[in-house]
């Protein structure tokens, strides 16, 4: 069990956005975090990466909470935000160096894999560029390169498919698969349901700050027999039903 979220209640203020969230990400598994805008996806992610403090419940990575050992906790996470966040004064090369320093990676080995990643994402000749010179997609690729440089146990990827070109999307999915097989867990939030259905092992559907349903495709179909076959049909059916409840 890489990531375990138990009875998580939390949010940005005293009024909780998340109401009793429970799910987990196991080793070698890609879990899709799916929900409408405002369902609580980003809030959940912010709790996992430690930017928010739970009001109740706990988040553990490999059995440890952030309060037991924040350094060891954070070392296991690699995060790719939805909107790329870069240091304006650092070149691409320096972003990689900083990542190596921050995660105390072996510089030589890390640069070897960095070079491979840079080549894959066609950034190898842009090492001395500043973030200002990158397009949105390129910035996102920089985030991917820096995240996959680490030997994290848990990858958290927030809506990766918007802004990436098809080739980069495919390369990212291959990378995720590679890390899965090496024993890492991946939590990915997305609205691109077709891709999610094809690649995710399990799904967590959030609605109004609660887990509406979770499981693999087969169990989603079993739980909601009348909604349809594809993830997108089931999800739309559930979302519409959820709307009526509100």
């Amino acid at each position: 069990m890489i990531l375990k979220i138990e009875h998580l209640v939390g949010g940005y203020s005293q009024i909780p956005v998340l109401k009793d969230i429970n799910f987990e990400v196991r080793a070698g598994e890609l879990v899709g975090l799916i929900g409408l805008n405002g369902a609580g996806k980003s809030t959940t992610i912010n709790h996992i990466i430690g930017l928010l403090t739970p009001q109740k419940g706990k988040v553990t990575i490999n059995g440890k909470t952030i309060y037991q050992d924040s350094e060891a906790y954070k070392k296991q996470i690699a995060y790719i935000p939805e909107l790329p966040v870069l240091y304006p004064e650092l070149t691409l090369r320096e972003h990689i160096n900083l990542t190596i320093m921050a995660y105390r990676l072996d510089a030589k080995k890390a640069w070897e894999s960095a070079n491979k990643l840079l080549k894959t994402f066609r950034l190898a000749n842009k090492l001395d560029w500043f973030p200002d010179n990158f397009s949105k997609g390129m910035k996102q690729k920089v985030m991917i390169v820096c995240a996959f440089l680490t030997d994290a146990k848990l990858y958290i990827i927030d809506e990766p498919f918007l802004g990436l070109d098809p080739l980069a999307t495919d390369d990212l999915l291959k990378l995720i698969d590679e890390r899965k097989r090496a024993g890492a867990g991946v939590l990915m939030s997305t609205h691109v349901l077709d891709t999610a259905e094809k690649y995710c092992d399990r799904f967590v559907l959030l609605h109004g700050g609660q887990v509406q349903t979770q499981g693999d495709m087969a169990s989603l179909r079993n739980q909601n027999p009348n909604l349809g076959n594809s993830l997108s049909e089931i999800y739309l059916g559930l979302a519409r039903a959820g709307e009526h409840d509100d």
């Binding site: 990466i49 906790y73 954070k74 900083l98 320093m101």
Partner: protein, 405 residues
């Protein structure tokens, strides 16, 4: 569109007022009073030394007039989102822009009156201008400005700053020609020239704007730069959120960066050093204050005064560098990296020690060499070391605790 302009103008006015409150604080007003008084006194003394026109007085007047007529630019108050939201009303934007032009004109008019009032005594003493001649010359100013604002408006429609040459000739060349005519031949030449130029520019714009569509990108770029200049000025006095220093490569700092990388593996030193080297936000202030301090120490021979100034400058520099510590707080990765908070503080201290020591050594050298006194240099160094130590060990820790909590 008129109501949009009114709304924008009001918001802009309130924003400027907000910042002016910070600029015109008590200390600054007093300093300003002394500055204006001193300059006025110097100017009046200078005027007393002039007896009648000489060969250089007319060229100086022409130069002053040419600079004065450039002051003030077209403030469109455009915002980045405008091309998205206002595109369907593009035809009506000309009305909006004319309002903007009128207000820009009024503003520069006020500035010009002030400038003219300062120039008036020089005109009457050094060029022997009669009052009516000064008035004729003065009248041509708002007319020239109106023309040049219409030219600027026209450029927004032509969507090009292309013809830099055109602009140079129309904004500098022709006015200088009118001034030369006015000062050497007859003052009416300036007024008539200004009226003709202005009319041509207005009529040309009236024809042109219907042929082209508004160059939104250029207009917004120009307005952004204008606002940035204003914010930069305010940023000297207070924290302006809209301003983030720009980033420059500055290859000449690479040696220092490499030296720092060799000496420590603290990731925050890596970050802070690069922020210092490449962002205009901190390095500009650091170099300016250090240089200014050195110049003052070179020219002030009184030991106590120079020591006081040195202490003040070191304090000011360290105080202005403190926000560097939280420069990256809004970046998620600063929180995500598996690094203890104490390492961030240690990295900050590493950088601060070296920056302050560099300043102290430079101050000591300046004080010692300029006054050819080993004693003054040594005393300056000692005081600097003690102050830096006190700042770093006693003052900073409490400030840092406050900033990071």
């Amino acid at each position: 569109m008129t109501s949009l302009w009114k709304k924008r103008q009001r918001a802009h006015f309130l924003e400027m007022l907000k910042y002016l409150r910070y600029v015109l604080n008590d200390h600054f007003v007093i300093a300003l009073l002394f500055l204006v008084g001193g300059l006025g006194y110097g100017y009046s003394n200078f005027l007393k030394t002039i007896d009648g026109p000489s060969w250089w007085s007319a060229p100086v007047v022409i130069l002053c007039l040419a600079v004065l007529v450039q002051l003030g630019s077209l403030a469109t108050l455009f915002q980045k989102a405008d091309p998205v939201f206002l595109l369907p009303r593009e035809h009506d934007m000309h009305g909006y822009l004319k309002q903007a032009l009128f207000h820009s004109w009024l503003f520069s008019f006020c500035v010009e009156i002030l400038g003219f009032a300062i120039l008036y005594p020089f005109l009457s003493i050094a060029v022997h201008f009669l009052t009516f001649q000064v008035i004729v010359l003065g009248l041509s100013f708002p007319i020239l400005k109106l023309g040049s604002l219409f030219l600027a408006l026209n450029q927004l429609y032509r969507n090009s700053r292309s013809n830099q040459w055109h602009t140079l000739v129309l904004n500098w060349g022709l006015p200088i020609l009118w001034f030369v005519g006015g000062l050497y031949l007859n003052v009416w030449i300036t007024l008539i020239g200004a009226v003709i130029q202005c009319l041509v520019e207005i009529l040309y714009e009236a024809k042109q704007w219907q042929l082209y569509s508004l160059g939104w990108r250029l207009a917004i770029q120009i307005e952004d730069q204008r606002m940035l200049r204003i914010y930069r000025f305010f940023n000297l006095f207070t924290d302006v959120p809209n301003i983030r220093g720009t980033v420059h490569r500055r290859k000449y700092f690479d040696g220092i960066l490499k030296w720092a990388d060799r000496n420590t593996s603290n990731p925050y030193v890596y970050l802070f050093m690069r922020a210092l080297a490449r962002s205009t936000e901190y390095s500009g202030m650091y170099f300016r204050l250090t240089l200014l301090g050195m110049v003052l120490l070179i020219f002030i021979s009184n030991l106590y005064l120079s020591l006081f100034l040195q202490i003040l400058f070191v304090y000011l520099i360290s105080f202005q560098l403190l926000p560097l510590l939280i420069n990256y707080e809004e970046n998620v990765f600063t929180h995500l990296y598996p690094i203890q908070k104490s390492i961030q503080v240690a990295g900050f201290n590493w950088v601060m020690v070296r920056l302050l020591l560099a300043t102290v050594v430079l101050f000591g050298l300046a004080a010692g060499i300029a006054h050819a006194s080993v004693l003054q240099g040594v005393v300056s160094l000692m005081i600097g070391f003690i102050e830096s130590w006190m700042l770093l060990k006693l003052y900073f820790p409490t400030r840092i605790k406050k900033m990071t909590s």
